[in-house]
Symmetry: D2
Subunit: 339 residues, 4 copies
């Protein structure tokens, strides 16, 4: 951390800032520049609250230097984390496709879609039993009945299932049924949910929050890892910006940045980013090309009758087309990575 | 809702869209324009999923018209909601000041600050016992011990206390001690927490999410009201933008907009918006001038020793100065509104 | 356009709004809904100022429906525009690579880099002679000397050259030397520059503004086309968001949206979006995969000695690597599109 | 500037970075921390391109410390700049009101509005003769005829006039007629226009760009001051964010920040920020309360017939009301500041 002093800061103010640093147990090294003094803060383990120094007289700015995350950091764990789920594997150099409807609506619906996406090449099935909805009047999911349907999908197709735990209350239930537990974008900083996920034996798919920085996202993963669960999968799903031609702006630069900063695998969810079907296939191609370890894609056999997010769900034949388009892109880089 | 067709949409596509609308139980009225047809969707109660129609062939765009909220809407409840808490009153034309430290750190700290802010004119005391923190390694609050300290503050000063329930698990505990239960920005769309708050007999202070639209914020309030709790207080606390000279960008235009759309009272939190002390007093003046029903302000007697957010906490003498500056502004508009 | 009335709007207010619409020469068709009346505005050619009606008593909202652009619209011109520049061709199903340094610094520098990128497969050379710089103290480009160097690059390599006209004053000069005239992000709404570009016989590469919506961007292109110049090339280069791990957030969803809305070709500029070298190759792969008609990439043989934007410039061997990675991706979709 | 090395950077990489710093004529002081080395860059005058070092092997991050602006900086010029224009005065502790229509439409319109706003207490008149419009088909202003009308307004009312120079071409003309030359938000980084303004003898009102940081805004002012024109007035007019309940988000925290960083006066323009009439009065109160040196407000006697931006123009009686509301707020702080 760097504590930058005002140009006109007095020696007393500089001394007071140095003492404030030292009183916290850190080392302070003042560096006089041409115009002003900056104080380097050393020997801090992890992050330091900038606010400890920001308000002192004569202090102009406080600039964090050290990254606040530890367990998720590639510096602390240089090799890639690989998450195995049944026959599927995320982060080992293959391309993992997770597909299914936004919400589980019925056994017929789930089994129909699961059969179709499996045939097209999906490695896992996704579907919400508990749905976080902006409106209290919207369809909130089938609850445990939905989880039972997911279990049947797994039994009949062999596909591992990914489903969301929307809160601490339903976590045990979701944990009992799911192969991978999803934590949604709105819950990325629901810290008690993250702590609960940290105690789970199941892998956790952690979506990036709507306006989360990379650092906040990785700190959310740190909460899970700090609890003892090392099987964390990140998922970029678009961020909120001024632009409204897509529901969110898919931030694909996050993928290489995350891969540099952390050892955890990272997927992309073009369906939630786009919010409309017509952008899903091009964005899927882009996500694979940028280097994501896999995709989370919404597919519905009757999207115009879907109970939620139908507009962004691909028709099954579009998912077949998507698979046909992304495989060769992936193959270019990792000829042995298609299973 | 308006379903806008492509210019080259065929009569069959228009007919199919009309049928899709009608199959959902709504009335469809196609309006041919100069270049294209738009279909008005009528007789929908509350909001309709745009996605139901967005993916149909020939459909260019779907434009929502009706607001999705009901109970919070001023159209459904034209008179202002007034929330009484002990001797304090929010939304009745007075200016309510809620002040205190970010976190309760000790009995001495809390009582000292409470005494100071009460003397300066605060109507309620704020202080976190459970703190949502970006890092798992940061101070997380004193927990129930903090709540007990808050109870003592109330006993000794007579000030009602506001404190945050960071999750469903601690809600009962917080509810038992607090006079007003705060739901933080990161939890604005924690729907199970909102539902729990809806079953509470205590008033709820609902902060706007970091990147929440007014509509999403009011829908979060709708969750609480739908559960039966009508005592909801909104609080604007800044939104995330590209600008970084303040921690968040305080969106003061939200105050008149919210006051037009809903009957619920709305406060402003200049401390969390600014993230640094030097902006808090000017932003407080602005928030009072724009018409907010009150302020939530962080005050600490030793901010450089605070365990969280010290940089944005006012010194007690600054809070006295703040009170001195905002009272006459408020008085201009509501000569009888200062108690 | 749809004029939405307040729920409690009186018949007189509705009538007044209808008259306001008709007084402007449009047709007004009121549509009574369940809760409120909406008035459809018909027979407007192009866009209508929402503000004409937004302030009327009883009017709640005004929602634009028709797109305001005409000449750039795919609805008015369904086939793709192809821009030929020397041997290069943009928008005809090939992938066009435009590469070179941020700024022309010397004849040696430009010729060296041009030779390297040509050999690697670039179809055009880019380099700024006039540089728009945030600071008046930063290097502003070589001016006409830079243009002469570009002319020599074209003579010696055969590569057409792209360079920016930063203002109206230098436009004639740039036009005399350049094969394609670039209009930068900061100038996207410099309307006199756009009008001048509209009178040019040279193709114009129009970058998207830092916070421009797709509609504003296409309206900027409309300015150029309205002046008579139909050879407009769009270029997505990232938008400003809260995220700072890249300089701007490359909005790849803009590519399919623009391709649906307009017949003009669209490139991507991963270098300016990323602002750092390490993201350029992955983002280039993504941009090609999403379907961009080409790329604008910064390359420098000595980036650490570059006078501007060295951090985002690829080393020549990295550009070779980039070409090797993107060609097979492109080839998958357009087997005959690699020239 | 601080060059932060990777944790695993080798001594050779650190040495190479030190040499890169020194080869540019700066001093380099490596500071070894607990985990990594950071190199302080000293003796740089003004800003240094981060990109010079960002791409070097072993360099993780480059953090600017010194502000890049000089002439506009309060550090270099501690006392407030006061801009006198006729009888009006901006920045001397009074509150300056600049009011008038968005565009000059006719002599009658301008004189009518000018008479009304003068009577209500405005100190200067605003009105556009050249209008920057998103659409080439929208009303572009009366041009020189509009300027002549402004001259007549000044003659008849004594009010100095503020009007926009939308480009370099019309600058001479605008300069000949205007008392204050406005540079609009879209032109904030039109550097040739800024340079031209720097050579003008008239004061310049510089609006903040739609997505400009404070630093970029002040650097734009630096361009003008660097040319020799010290009479620069800043104007906050809202920034583009995800929020759409107002046209732009008025960033009032910018006012105290700017006042701390620079000696130049700063106004607020609530009309362009809001984009709708109903928010203008509350935001005006807030802007005065936050400490702005004055306001720029749109007023029209027949807003529903205005040729541009009618929806945000106040009715004359509303402007009277606005004046009545803001004066006492201002008076609280500066009892002698109302002229």
């Amino acid at each position: 951390m760097l504590v930058v002093m005002e140009q006109e800061a007095t020696p007393e103010e500089i001394e007071r800032a140095v003492q404030a640093v030292e009183s916290r147990g850190f080392a302070a090294r003042p560096v006089p520049g041409g115009h002003r003094v900056a104080i380097c803060v050393l020997h801090n383990h992890g992050s330091v609250e900038p606010s400890l120094f920001l308000g002192l007289p004569g202090v102009k700015e406080v600039i964090p230097v050290t990254r606040p995350y530890k367990l998720v950091s590639r510096e602390s764990h240089p090799t890639d984390t690989v998450v195995r789920v049944g026959d599927a594997c995320i982060g080992n150099g293959t391309l993992t496709l997770i597909a299914g409807p936004c919400a589980v609506e019925s056994e017929t619906q789930a089994l129909t879609i699961a059969g179709l996406v499996k045939k097209a090449g999906a490695h896992m099935f996704r579907g919400g039993a508990f749905k976080p909805r902006t409106s209290p009047y919207a369809f909130q999911g089938l609850g445990e009945d939905g989880l039972k349907i997911l279990a049947r999908v797994r039994r009949e197709t062999g596909l591992p299932v990914v489903t969301e735990a929307i809160d601490h209350e339903v976590f045990d239930l979701v944990e009992a049924y799911a192969d991978v537990i999803q934590i949604g974008a709105r819950n990325m900083q629901n810290f008690s949910l993250l702590r609960r996920a940290g105690r789970s034996s199941k892998p956790v798919l952690l979506k990036r929050g709507l306006s989360a920085t990379i650092e906040e996202w990785l700190m959310a993963a740190e909460y899970i890892m700090e609890g003892g669960n090392t099987r964390v999968i990140l998922c970029e799903r678009g961020v909120r910006t001024f632009a409204h031609h897509s529901r969110n702006t898919l931030d694909l630069s996050a993928v290489p940045v995350v891969q540099k900063e952390t050892h955890l695998p990272v997927l992309a969810d073009p369906s939630h980013a786009a919010g409309r079907r017509s952008q899903v296939i091009p964005l899927s191609r882009a996500a694979v090309a940028v280097g994501a370890h896999g995709l989370l894609v919404e597919v519905h056999h009757q999207p115009e009758a879907a109970l939620s997010d139908g507009a962004q769900s691909l028709y099954p034949e579009q998912f077949v087309e998507l698979c046909g388009q992304i495989r060769p892109i992936f193959k270019i880089f990792r000829p042995d990575g298609i299973h």
